[in-house]
Structures are given as C-alpha cells and as structure tokens.
C-alpha cells in the first residue's frame, strides 16, 4: 500500500532517525508520498519519492536537494528542504517543516472549499477564501516577492502550480512548498510540470523548465488567483469536449489563445462555465489587464515578452493602493468607484471619498486604508511596512485623519501655506488642500515625496 506506517524509522543523513507518527500519509502526488514524522524532538513532513524516474536518477536528484539545503531559502516564506534521508530500498526523501494549520492550499482557495470527512464518514465542505481584497492582493505581492528573490539567487522553481502554495487568507501570508525541483540556471532534474501551468514550449517539448518558463507559470498562478479561471481555457478548448493529450498539446502548446486576446476572439470565456473570469476581468483596472494581456499574447510565444517578477510587483503594489474598503462593507478598486469627473463614489452606499495623490497616483482615504513604504517612496521595495493609516480621531467622532505610523515625523502644509510638524504617532486631518510631506527638512526636504489630499 503506502511505503511507511506509523512507527517506521527512516535514517537521516545528518544522523538519527525520523519516525513516522501519522497513521496515514499526509498526501500523495505525482512524485511521492508525504508523511508526518518526528526527528530529534521536532515534527516535520517527510517527502518520500515513489516516482520511478526520480528513483532512477536519485544520485543527481538528491545531490541537487543537498545543494538546496546548503544554499538555504532566498527569504522567508519557503517550505525549504531541511534534511535528506539515507537511501532505503532504492528510494529516498527529505524532511521539511509542516504546513501550519492556519494556511489553506491554493487549490482549495481556487475551489472555494476544503473537503473534510466528519466522524460518520461523510464529507462536508468548509468554505475557504479571502474576506479582504487588500489581503488577497498582499498574498499575490508576497508570492511575487518570493519568486523574485528566488530568481535573483540564480535558480528557477520549475514546477510552479496551485499545489505548491499555501496561503493564510486572513493575513495574506504565503508559504511556497515543493521546493525540491529548484535548480540553478541550465539544470533540470527531470520535472516537466503540471498541465495548465507549463509554458507552451515545455508542453510542446521544445524546452525544459527554466527561469523563462517559470515566468509563464507565475502569470498563470496570478491570473488564477485574481480572475479565478484559466487564461487559456475558453470556447475553443471547451468545443473539443474531451481534453485529450493532443487537445492539450494544441491549446496549451502549439496554438494557445488567451481568453481575452484583443485580436483573436476564437477562445473567449464561456458563459455559465467561466463565470468568474467574465465577471472579474472588467472589474480590474486597465493596467492589470494590460500586463496579463502581454503575458498571454506576445508572452506565449516570446519568453522575453513575459512580465518579470518586478513587473508584477509594481502592478500589484499599485493595485493594492487602488483597493477601497468602504465603510458600508463594499470592497472594490478605485476604477470601479471613479465617477469620471475625478471624484470617487462608492457604488454601494453612494458615499464620496477623499483621495490623496502621491506621485500622480490617487489613493482613496477610506477608514482603515494603509499606506505602505513602497506606496510613498518611488524606489522602495518594502511593501510590508505601514507608514500611515486612515483612522478616526478618538476625540472627534467622524473626523478621519492619516496617522503617522512611520519612523520619522512628517510635515503638513495647509492650504494657506502654513506648515505643521506631524510627530510619529500623530495625525493629519483629512481635508481638501492639505499636503503631507513624508519627512521634515532634516531629511533633505527636496527629495521628500508628498501626498496631496483632495476631494
């Protein structure tokens, strides 16, 4: 049945044994089985390879994992291999940390539910999903940031797909798993990839997974996260009824057509089947649609046209700025609230929101809105640090202001030209005509970015 049972011991190269502690594997996939084990007092997940092709090439494959263990993850957020096992019966595996229970698999997020078997043996569906739009965009930012770090460290992931991500839908934290195929530029240890995520040249067999093909897979992952559909599955694909191997080769390899290709309308999403993408595509701002369109038109055939992680990073940072969570509960993007006359009105409750314009980009100042370091400082890559937050004044009910949560005082320039210092922890009331300079003269005033508040 399965390779291991509870109590089995697997010798680890670094010394000692890992002991299987679960009754059944945590999972099984294309390459192997995953077990819960205990090693030197800590719990880990053991991935044990059952794939014949990996077992045949086990010296190279395990050698690469060992190099990855030594190299370490490029940053936090990776479930990285930690210890290799000794060989047993011609097989081997490695230990990694367990996925904390507050994370949901990206597959379940796309499916919108998790299947749980209850005590009487029947299955129930637990809803899985984001409740905040800004958190969903933040999770995409974290994915992209992790892949950027991975690529900058000179390696590629090679098997990017929905099974490799786990997300805390409350916080937007992302864990990237299945890092065993990560390999330096020019190397591939046998992995091809998962249907729907592979770049066309991998599907056709013209190329092996590499950094360029990762770019396509990342675009697919992001499209699925934001639009909740497949970028290449439309009417042309559905008309083949059965997705046979040759149909897959055609629609994902030799002749892929983006479902929103501006010039080729042969593969549009099908009403009643691809409802999510039909609904969501138009709700995203134009600059988001442009990047996806490039990824899935020119980028399908020309890897150098594919958006690089940094392009996605900039797009997603801007998108997060555009998120509006109105007090009435509606969450949307500014483009949906744009009245066309420069004002932003919630289509739900009709409330008109003030905005702050930083570097030409407006940001709606609804209560709770967070302003991040990278939103203010043009070349910043810090998308985690919150430098300001829209809050209600504790003494004056209904008065909204921007609280300085950064590490330096700001300067507020009032409409009559007078200036006031905004200390750390202090705030600026939101009123038409006020300009916030995110620093003081002490920090070289000329280079300090500013935000102009207007109606």
């Amino acid at each position: 049945m399965f390779k291991f049972k509870k109590g089995d011991r697997i010798p680890i190269r670094d010394g000692g044994d890992a002991i299987v502690i679960g009754e059944k594997p945590l999972g099984s996939g294309g390459q192997g089985e995953v077990y819960r084990v205990e090693y030197l007092g800590d719990e880990y997940a053991l991935k044990w390879y059952t794939s014949p092709s990996i077992r045949e090439n086990r010296t190279e494959f395990s050698g690469n994992i060992q190099e990855n263990i030594v190299r370490g993850p490029p940053k936090d957020g990776f479930l990285w291999p930690k210890h290799l096992t000794e060989e047993m019966d011609g097989g081997f595996g490695y230990l990694m940390d367990l996925i904390p229970s507050n994370y949901s698999s990206f597959s379940d997020i796309l499916r919108t539910y998790r299947v749980r078997t209850v005590s009487d043996g029947t299955a129930v569906r637990d809803r899985v999903g984001f409740t905040r739009l800004d958190v969903m965009v933040l999770s995409a930012l974290r994915m992209v940031s992790s892949f950027r770090a991975l690529q900058l460290s000179g390696v590629s992931y090679q098997d990017l797909n929905d099974g490799g991500f786990y997300i805390d839908t409350d916080t937007g934290d992302v864990l990237i798993c299945d890092c065993d195929n990560v390999a330096p530029q020019g190397s591939n240890f046998g992995i091809r990839g998962k249907p729907g995520y592979m770049a066309p040249e991998v599907v056709t067999g013209h190329s092996k997974p590499c950094r360029d093909t990762d770019k396509h897979s990342l675009a697919v992952v992001l499209f699925k996260l934001l639009m909740r559909g497949d970028p290449l599955e439309g009417s042309a694909v559905c008309s083949c009824v059965v997705l046979t191997g040759s149909n897959e080769l055609k629609h994902y390899g030799t002749d892929p057509v983006f479902v929103f290709d501006p010039t080729n309308t042969s593969n549009r999403p099908v009403k009643g089947v691809h409802s999510n993408v039909i609904k969501n595509w138009g709700l995203y701002p134009g600059y988001v649609r442009e990047v996806f369109t490039r990824a899935f038109t020119d980028g399908l055939h020309d890897p150098s046209s594919r958006p690089i992680p940094n392009t996605w990073f900039k797009m997603l940072s801007r998108l997060r700025c555009d998120v509006v969570a109105c007090g009435c509960g509606r969450q949307s993007f500014m483009s949906v609230m744009d009245t066309g006359s420069g004002n932003y009105r919630c289509p739900g409750c009709g409330r008109e929101h003030m905005v702050m314009v930083i570097g030409g980009c407006p940001m709606v100042l609804a209560e709770g809105k967070e302003i991040h370091h990278c939103d203010v400082f043009p070349h910043s890559e810090d998308f985690e640090t919150v430098v300001g937050r829209v809050v209600e004044n504790k003494k004056v009910s209904g008065l909204l202001g921007i609280k300085n949560t950064s590490d330096r005082p700001w300067t507020a320039v009032l409409s009559d030209g007078t200036t006031k210092t905004v200390p750390i922890g202090g705030g600026v009331p939101i009123a038409d005509g006020i300009t916030i300079r995110f620093g003081t003269t002490e920090n070289n005033f000329n280079s300090i970015p500013e935000g102009i508040i207007r109606r």
Partner: protein, 247 residues
C-alpha cells in the same frame, strides 16, 4: 450591475474538468466469498480517500456498474465523489460481459453519463473480473470500440485470480500492459487502491520528462496510458501468491 456581479471576493469554484470514473465489476457467482469481500472492503475505504484529490483541476464523479446475468448501476447517474456511499455488492449468476459492454456503450454518450457544459477529462474505465464471458461478447465489444469516449478513455483491467481471461480483458483495454493480475486478497486491495488513486490524478498532476524533443499529437495522446503503464509496472510485486491456491 448587481452587487454579486461587482464583488471580487464572491466567486464560484474555478471551472474544473469533469472526470468520471466508471467501475465495471464482475459480480458473477465465481466472485463470491473472499474476492467480492475484498472488493467491497477496499472500495468502501478508497473512495473517501480520493475526495480531495481533484483539487482545482478535476471534478470527480463515480459510477459503478455490476454485471453477472444482469447489468446494474449502483446509482442512476455518476455521483460526485464527496457524496458517494458504497453499497455492498452481492454475487450470483453468469458472466454476461457482452451485455455489460452494451450497457456501458449506451452510457458513454452525451445523453448518458457524459453530458456536461464544461470540459471533461477522458473517463477512467476500471474493469475487474475473475472469469470468462458466458455470452457472445464480441459484437458489443466491437461496437463500443467505435465509441469516441471509450476510445479516449483511460482503460484499466484487474484480472482476479488465474481463471480470469486476460485476453478478453486486454481486448477491453486495448493494451496487455494495462491488464494487471491480482492473485490474492492483499494484492487485489493494493491494486484497486493504487490504480484508483493514480487514475484519478493522471492528467492533473506534475509529470516528469519522459523524452527529449518535440512531442507529436500521437505521443501526447498516448502519454496518460504510458504513465499508467509505468505505475502498474512499478506496482507488481513478485511475492504475490495465487488467488486460487489454498482458499
């Protein structure tokens, strides 16, 4: 636009490919005792295990046909994997394989079990038998071979014990390598479990490089079966003892 039409967080499950797994199980008299006992026990256990397997790729449903002198379906239509409850199979009568093929042919159609607006994976047809057909099966088997769903289907057969007619099973799968022999209870249980789990994942999991160079449509069509064959070859164990020996 309505509220729902503007809500980016309120989405339907991502469109998944339908995958119907059809079990075609011989319930003739010769299957009585341990053989059907093992089938019942392992099926009851393995179906809940594949509930989560489809992930965001496939929407799995299961149909169960039994054939002896009669042909029956456990449910009127394929059931979603999360809803299926195994009903214990009983044995009696002859092995009317030809009738089974006739019935299967009628259900492998848009008007039968394959009607869906969305895209499908080719069905999985999983045959288990321990004997020889008692009816003239040739005409119905020839007929079903012209069915396009059947042609594309991933076909597996388990020959239970040494009396099973492997040639007929190979005629069904179209490939001797996708007929696998189970000569005892533990081997039967292991194979049903492994083949169920594997066949439910093929096509929607990461694959490895099997060859260098461009892929032809023919190779692409044969890839899933080739993957299955590899799994089967990996699973056959020499310690398997004869099912018919010592029972």
């Amino acid at each position: 636009m309505t509220d729902d039409a503007m809500d980016l967080l309120n989405n339907e499950p991502i469109a998944r490919k339908k995958l119907v797994i059809v079990y075609i199980i011989d319930t003739s008299g010769s299957m009585s005792g341990d053989k059907i006992g093992t089938v019942n026990a392992v099926m009851e256990e393995v179906l809940p295990e594949i509930r989560g397997i489809g992930g965001s790729d496939s929407d799995i449903s299961v149909a169960v046909m039994t054939f002896d002198t009669d042909v029956c379906w456990m449910y009127d239509a394929p059931r979603p994997i999360e809803e299926i409850k195994w009903t214990e199979l009983k044995t009696a009568g002859w092995t009317d394989f030809g009738r089974a093929m006739g019935e299967l042919n009628s259900k492998l159609s848009r008007n039968g079990y394959m009607g869906t607006a969305s895209l499908s994976f080719a069905p999985v047809l999983f045959l288990m038998s321990d004997g020889c057909p008692n009816d003239g099966y040739e005409a119905n088997l020839a007929k079903i071979k012209g069915n396009k769903w059947f042609k594309h289907a991933l076909k597996i057969a388990v020959a239970i014990g040494s009396d099973a007619n492997r040639e007929v099973l190979a005629e069904f799968t179209g490939n001797v390598e996708t007929v696998v022999e189970a000569n005892n209870g533990p081997a039967l249980a292991r194979l049903i479990r492994m083949l169920t789990i594997t066949s439910s994942q093929i096509g929607s999991r990461s694959s490895t490089m099997e060859s260098d160079g461009p892929l032809t449509p023919e190779q692409a069509d044969a890839a899933k079966e080739a993957e299955l064959v590899q799994v089967i070859q990996n699973a056959v164990r020499p310690e398997d003892i004869d099912f018919d020996d010592g029972w």
